[in-house]
Symmetry: C2
Subunit: 406 residues, 2 copies
């Protein structure tokens, strides 16, 4: 019999009414003769409420107690969803992370799953019950409650799907699938029926907020078929799976973009070994993540060095870089926090040349100046002035024929 | 080193501010060189909020899921109190019922504690940490979350005090101790420094709402010294312990009363064996609790039979009794839901005659008619018209010299 793991996020279970709606969706799926394991998040708003309470009693609450506190959010939801299922005569049983032994390491607030004991869940499934499991949480070897960090419920769902050898892991969210690009920017963006893990990973890391990177990595590593669907609308969503060699791949699956970028350039740096580390080391040390890096040979003895950071880290990074410039005797530090990154993503790129030149040509035709370029096997990213974001994305969306066929 | 178990109820931990206040009280006690284990309830209002959510998704939620839901209330409090303690540099560690293995039977919503594993708590105590335990909850042998029912947190505290061989179990509440009677009725009622378990049990069962009967029974059974104190005011509270033979007992410890009483009389019942069961059986069957019972021999062949019930059960009991009366061929059914019960309680009664006659005389002097009388070894209860409650309690309070000495 088919076994499906479904995951519903905070918005999908944000009220008693919505929980009742989720119960109906689950029961309907079960009536099709499928076994269902449901993973739920805390009701939307609950985590913020609990965090606010924590900060009222302690500005820097300890991580062990924070995990004990926050894990109550999902515990409330599993109980309510099980009640809602029983209310429509669908037998159900709830489990906290600890109760199904979702064993993690002891890294509170960002624990990693090590093992899951599936025997209880299997008994329930055999007895025809829907199993409702709290996402985001586990227990360490000493019985301390742990949480998995951002997107933890997605990770729980994928881990359960793997452990139970489920046929599919369905992530219900407030969008109805993965699109060729953000429909708010390009209104006729097309929903994709299928993308590969790799493409999804690139899209997620480039700012498409449908799925957490970690859960896609996990699904990819263990080949768990993942599907993104809407809690609120009917539809097949988007299936994320391994590359299907038998089907001719589209050149490009989608266009991702990231608004929150800023770039920094240090000019006239003495060109000697180790200089990149000398420049980036202090930035990394203050916890700022560096994204793209480009180095140009400028003159005979000096070089120019450019990199991008998250826009919120711009000021801090600028200060640190200015100090480094002084130490190195560099000529100048320049910066721009009004830039965005636009990326083409597609496994089809591997076997097709000319994608990059089409991209550059399209942008040139629109008069868009490219400030930086970075490429990977299945992705090309460019940095442009933020005022060109919508124009650039739309032009590329047309150039690569991604529009819906309606 | 002295070990104290302290329990704080929902009102005492009703807000972040109050939790911070409790943390200060606990830390102050610890600075006196005492080891402290704290048991807490859910923040006031939280249980009602969760119950309302449950009833929104299911008018008759299952008890297993209800326990999973409600137990989150205490889990929130233990985390917050531990954070608050750490915030004032008092090392602390929180435990859910499951984490310290408060093993119960599987009677959800009214489970009984069977065993407690104290090893984790002892490690923490040895390491100088305050141990914060969730009241009201446990786990059964299969790892299901259970709750102990009404007053469950008091029971948890007493059970922990027994298991840990604590020197005292302190129940913090919103009153500063046990009084000779309700100070709202008799303004100069005196706080008692000490009462016996038996007296406390009688007082609690007679409507003094300071402590849950079950926790007093538990404390009495295992000789755990119990102290009732205020969370909000300083003071020694009232110690509840075994009878101290060396000290001369006061005749009367206190006067309890219960406003929510109603009485029912069935007149002219054929006087034959089994008739009491015939009358009371149907009442018990519909779940109505019967308190006092009095039977008078009226005439040669018939008898009158009177009993009291909770006022909210009056109408239902009256209907059932009327049917029984018809079946028995009894003459009449009468009722009165405007009555109250006043009780004298004191272990000193055992060795002193004349308490009852002083009581009856005092009431007679005030022109108060006694409708029913019932006695036990350490208690005399009378039923009177509700309009005489305040007058009766005040008069008896004076007659037995219970006033404070100020």
């Amino acid at each position: 019999m088919t076994l499906i793991v479904q995951k519903y996020g905070g918005t999908s279970v944000g009220s008693a009414e919505r929980i009742a709606h989720v119960a109906e969706k689950v029961a309907a799926e079960r009536k099709k003769g499928r076994n269902i394991v449901v993973v739920v998040s805390a009701m939307s708003g609950e985590t913020n409420r609990l965090m606010a309470l924590a900060h009222e009693v302690n500005p820097q609450p300890g991580v062990r107690e924070l995990d004990t506190l926050l894990s109550t959010g999902e515990q409330v939801t599993i109980a309510l969803l099980s009640m809602a299922l029983e209310n429509i005569d669908c037998p159900a049983k709830s489990y906290t992370g600890g109760q199904v032994c979702i064993q993690t390491d002891s890294q509170h607030t960002r624990a990693r799953i090590q093992d899951i004991n599936i025997s209880k869940m299997q008994n329930d499934i055999s007895a025809g019950r829907v199993v409702v499991v709290a996402g985001f949480q586990g227990v360490d070897a000493n019985g301390n409650i742990t949480t998995l960090g951002r997107g933890g419920s997605d990770t729980t769902a994928v881990a359960l799907a793997y452990a139970l050898k489920a046929d599919e892991c369905q992530i219900y969210t407030d969008v109805d699938g993965v699109y060729t690009t953000d429909p708010r920017v390009v209104p006729d963006a097309r929903k994709l029926d299928q993308v590969t893990y790799e493409e999804m990973l690139e899209m997620a890391s480039l700012g498409a907020k449908v799925l957490q990177i970690r859960s896609v990595e996990f699904a990819s590593k263990y080949s768990v078929p993942l599907r993104v669907l809407s809690s609120f609308e009917e539809g097949e969503g988007t299936l994320i799976t391994e590359e299907d060699k038998s089907v001719e791949q589209a050149l490009i699956s989608g266009i991702a973009f990231n608004r929150d970028e800023a770039k920094l350039t240090i000019l006239g740096v003495p060109d000697r070994p180790g200089v990149a580390h000398y420049i980036l080391g202090p930035i990394a040390k203050i916890g700022v993540e560096i994204d793209m890096i480009v180095q140009n040979i400028a003159e005979d003895t000096t070089t120019d060095f450019t990199f991008t950071v998250h826009r919120s880290d711009y000021k801090q990074a600028f200060e640190v870089l200015s100090m480094t410039a002084k130490e190195l005797g560099a000529r100048e530090v320049k910066g721009d926090d009004k830039i965005v990154k636009i990326s083409l993503v597609g496994v089809g790129m591997r076997s097709h040349a000319g994608i990059a030149s089409t991209m550059f040509e399209t942008l040139a035709e629109e008069g868009i100046n490219i400030l930086m370029i970075s490429t990977s096997e299945i992705k090309i990213s460019v940095v442009v002035d933020e005022k060109y974001l919508e124009l650039g994305v739309s032009a590329l969306h047309s150039a690569f024929d991604l529009h819906s066929e309606k």
